[in-house]
């Protein structure tokens, strides 16, 4: 079956995304925005060198990012490899912060479907609340949309009560047309969230990519009534970038979408920049890295 790609004009989408980056977010709006952004963070560590100790530190940071500023909420979730899910579950017990696990041969996904499903089952059995899977770019780039969707359906089945985020790895798809197409495929196959990137490829959640995906989510919700959430991962490393993504959500989908139930930001270093900018709104001083714990 020959694929029909939707039309997205790159110059136009990037102009609109950049234009929205010029919104001036000050004072109370900035504070509220930062708190919202923190509440949407999936605090992430996905390194070969991750150990239980490292994950415990990260969990403590996620539950209480800034002891000196109690109005700063907890993050939405901690995101780890399946091997460390059990550690995170224990460390986060009673805090309300979710445990998300990557699965399906993250990040490249170049393993058999059976292996991807086994990976998912391991994470779910260990107690993960959320599963972040990767689509098969190998199938997508070969034009095999059916296989891309079949894999998502199969993974979703293994998720049980856990919610499923589908990572498109937008940097590898080719164009914005492809990003929109992949977004639709994923939503139609049952994704609970669509996510931009693994954070391991060259580019992540650029403003243009975020805008294309948010528009797809909007059109899908209008057409079917079903709400699919959005996760921006990769490249959102400053407070300014995080607020820009919130503006994109606000002006594409509306204020009611500004909740961690529908929007997540996958990141590690952005959290401290959010805290520094928040502190600046209180003290008027430009901050320094040492003002907050790194983990």
């Amino acid at each position: 079956m020959i694929r029909r790609l939707p039309h997205v004009d790159r110059v136009g989408i990037e102009e609109r995304a950049a234009q929205l980056g010029k919104r001036s977010i000050k004072t109370t709006a900035k504070q509220q925005g930062i708190r919202l952004a923190v509440s949407m963070v999936d605090l992430t560590t996905l390194e070969g060198a991750d150990t239980p100790g490292k994950v415990r530190h990260l969990c403590a940071k996620g539950v209480c990012p800034a002891p000196t500023m109690p109005e700063i909420p907890s993050v939405a979730a901690i995101c780890v490899y399946p091997q460390l899910v059990a550690v995170a579950i224990e460390a986060l017990n009673g805090s309300g912060v979710k445990t998300a696990s990557v699965a399906t041969g993250f990040p490249a996904g170049q393993v058999s479907l059976a292996a991807k499903l086994r990976d998912t089952e391991d994470a779910v059995q260990a107690g993960a609340d959320e599963i972040d899977m990767v689509i098969s770019r190998e199938a997508f780039l070969a034009g095999d949309d059916a296989r891309v969707q079949q894999e998502i359906v199969a993974v979703k089945e293994r998720c049980g009560d856990a919610h499923l985020k589908v990572i498109l790895e937008t940097a590898e798809l080719g164009s914005y047309d492809h990003v929109r197409h992949a977004s639709m495929l994923a939503m139609e196959a049952g994704a609970d969230f669509i996510k931009t990137s693994t954070g391991k490829a060259s580019a992540g959640a650029t403003p243009g990519v975020c805008l294309v995906m948010l528009e797809a989510i909007r059109d899908y919700a209008d057409r079917t009534g079903r709400i699919v959430g959005f996760k921006a991962a990769g490249g959102v490393s400053t407070s300014k970038a995080a607020l820009h993504r919130l503006v994109l959500v606000k002006e594409t989908l509306g204020d009611e979408w500004l909740t961690p139930d529908r929007i997540r930001i996958g990141a590690s270093s952005v959290l401290n920049d959010l805290l520094m900018q928040y502190a600046k709104t209180e003290t008027g001083r430009y901050g320094r890295a040492e003002d907050f714990s790194k983990e």
Binding site: V11, G12, S24, I25, T27, L36, G225, I227, E251
Partner: protein, 486 residues
């Protein structure tokens, strides 16, 4: 995940006003002639007001007939030396002006917004940078004229009288002055009645650039001043940007004379959306096309022609998108749509919108809070519009878009061309060959494909039919200011 009810989240942008405390406006501005500001001879001082607040900003001298005659005399006296200057030296003055505009850009942007009502984001990001770019571009032509017009020898025309409108005051002044001066002419510029201030700041910049006295004259005034200027003996060329009605008067007034003339007039440009367009980007193009600068744009995409097969989808996306426009204080950096330039213009818009409703079109206006004082009109969409309606024919020059439909490419072209205007058009389609064929068939001087309202000093701009003649921008913009000797 299903739709849940929740306590509603509201994230408002806090007010983000641009500061004005670094601006110093004089209480009064005289006429800028012979390198200095002077008192009017037979003119008078008139306040210029901020249309968003109705507060006066400064008093400005409007020139009377004696002032016009004196301006022409001083320009004529300055002309020979300017024309005889080594061309690279002329270029250097224009380069200086370009750089000074860049150096004083924030001040110019703030004053432009205060005086005219357009959002600061636009004056900061569009008007002022493009004005500097025009001077920079034409500075580079001054010593390359024979490449620009493919001639072996050229000469300037002499003294040019230039009248600019209130919608892009500084930018239009740059569009006029830069090519005129680059070609070796001297210029008398009459800024618009309601927006003289940035032209007067440009006069200060000419002083800072040490431009020889008399090369540029800034002569504020009203329609009467302009009428006197174009008829003044000693003017070799007139360049006018404004309404078609006044353009006609000027063309009639110059009948039988040898005064050169270029006109950039009104429009009722068609923005055409085909079913194979990148729709979300087309929506942005529609919004940009008619709501940029409150629709106070000669090339505004005021007639939205939608292919019938996607009409409902386009409207379903356009209406909520219009609802997200932020209308209000132009000095707030988050404002999308600012104030209407004057009480007179607001009335004109209201009259035509009322006519639209009477004619049977369906009107929808976005809901937004408008400030108490000042002149405001909320973005408005008319559907069920027929080509015979006044709102489909006459230029409204406000944030009002009229929707018509078409079935085929040929019909789109026919409808788009069925206007006495011919300034601009927009074409939205993902098919390249269609974009180029339609562009070729449209009687419009500027055709935007999959975009709208983009301007560049290198790209010629101007109209067909009642939208005027002559081009501004690029090498084509040199021709109206030169005599080709051989």
């Amino acid at each position: 995940m299903s739709i849940e009810t929740r306590t509603s989240i509201v994230w408002d942008y806090a007010p983000a006003p641009e500061s004005t405390d670094h601006i110093r406006l004089r209480d009064r501005y005289g006429i800028f002639e012979n390198g200095e500001f002077r008192e009017p001879r037979d003119g008078r001082y008139v306040p210029t007001i901020n249309p968003a607040t109705e507060e006066p900003l400064a008093e400005v001298a409007y020139g009377g007939p004696d002032d016009v005659a004196a301006a022409v005399q001083s320009a004529r006296a300055a002309y020979p030396k300017w024309a005889a200057l080594k061309d690279l030296e002329r270029a250097k003055y224009l380069f200086r002006i370009a750089r000074l505009i860049q150096e004083r850009s924030r001040e110019l942007a703030v004053v432009e917004t205060l005086d005219g009502g357009k959002p600061l984001r636009e004056s900061r990001d569009v008007d002022i940078p493009l004005a500097a770019a025009h001077f920079f571009h034409y500075a580079g032509w001054a010593d390359k004229l024979r490449y620009g017009v493919n001639a072996r020898e050229v000469s300037p025309l002499g003294v040019v009288g230039q009248i600019v409108p209130w919608n892009f005051p500084l930018l239009m002044a740059a569009w006029k002055l830069a090519p005129a001066l680059a070609c070796g002419n001297v210029a008398i510029l009459k800024p618009a009645e309601t927006t003289p201030l940035t032209a007067l700041l440009l006069a200060e910049i000419c002083q800072e650039a040490e431009l020889p006295p008399g090369v540029v004259t800034i002569l504020p005034g009203d329609g009467g001043t302009g009428a006197t200027l174009v008829r003044a003996p000693g003017i070799d060329k007139v360049a006018f940007t404004g309404s078609t009605a006044v353009g006609r008067d000027i063309q009639a007034a110059l009948a039988g004379t040898s005064t050169h003339l270029t006109l950039e007039l009104g429009g009722k440009s068609a923005n055409i959306v085909f079913e194979d367009a990148a729709l979300d980007q087309a929506i942005e193009g529609i919004v940009n096309g008619i709501f940029f600068n409150q629709g106070h744009v000669c090339c505004a995409g005021s007639r939205l022609l939608i292919q019938e097969s996607v009409r409902d989808e386009v409207i379903a996306k356009l209406w909520p998108r219009m609802g997200r426009l932020r209308v209000g204080d132009p000095m707030d950096k988050n404002t999308d749509v600012g104030a209407i330039n004057s009480a007179e213009q607001l009335e004109r818009i209201e009259v035509l919108v009322a006519a639209g409703e009477e004619e049977g079109a369906t009107r929808r206006t976005i809901e937004c809070e408008l400030p108490e004082r000042g002149y405001w009109f909320a973005p408005t969409l008319f559907t069920d519009v027929s080509p015979a309606h006044r709102i489909a024919i006459e230029e409204i020059f406000g944030p009002v878009v009229s929707v018509l439909t078409f079935r085929t490419q040929a019909e789109a072209i026919e409808k788009a061309n069925n206007s006495r205007y011919g300034l601009a058009a927009g074409i939205w389609t993902d098919k390249g060959s269609k974009a180029f064929e339609v562009a070729g068939a449209l009687q419009a001087g500027v055709v935007w494909q999959n975009t709208y309202n983009h301007f560049d000093p290198t790209a010629a701009f101007g109209g067909y039919k009642d939208s005027g003649f002559g081009r501004e921008g690029g090498p084509a913009g040199l021709r109206p200011y030169l005599n080709i000797v051989r």
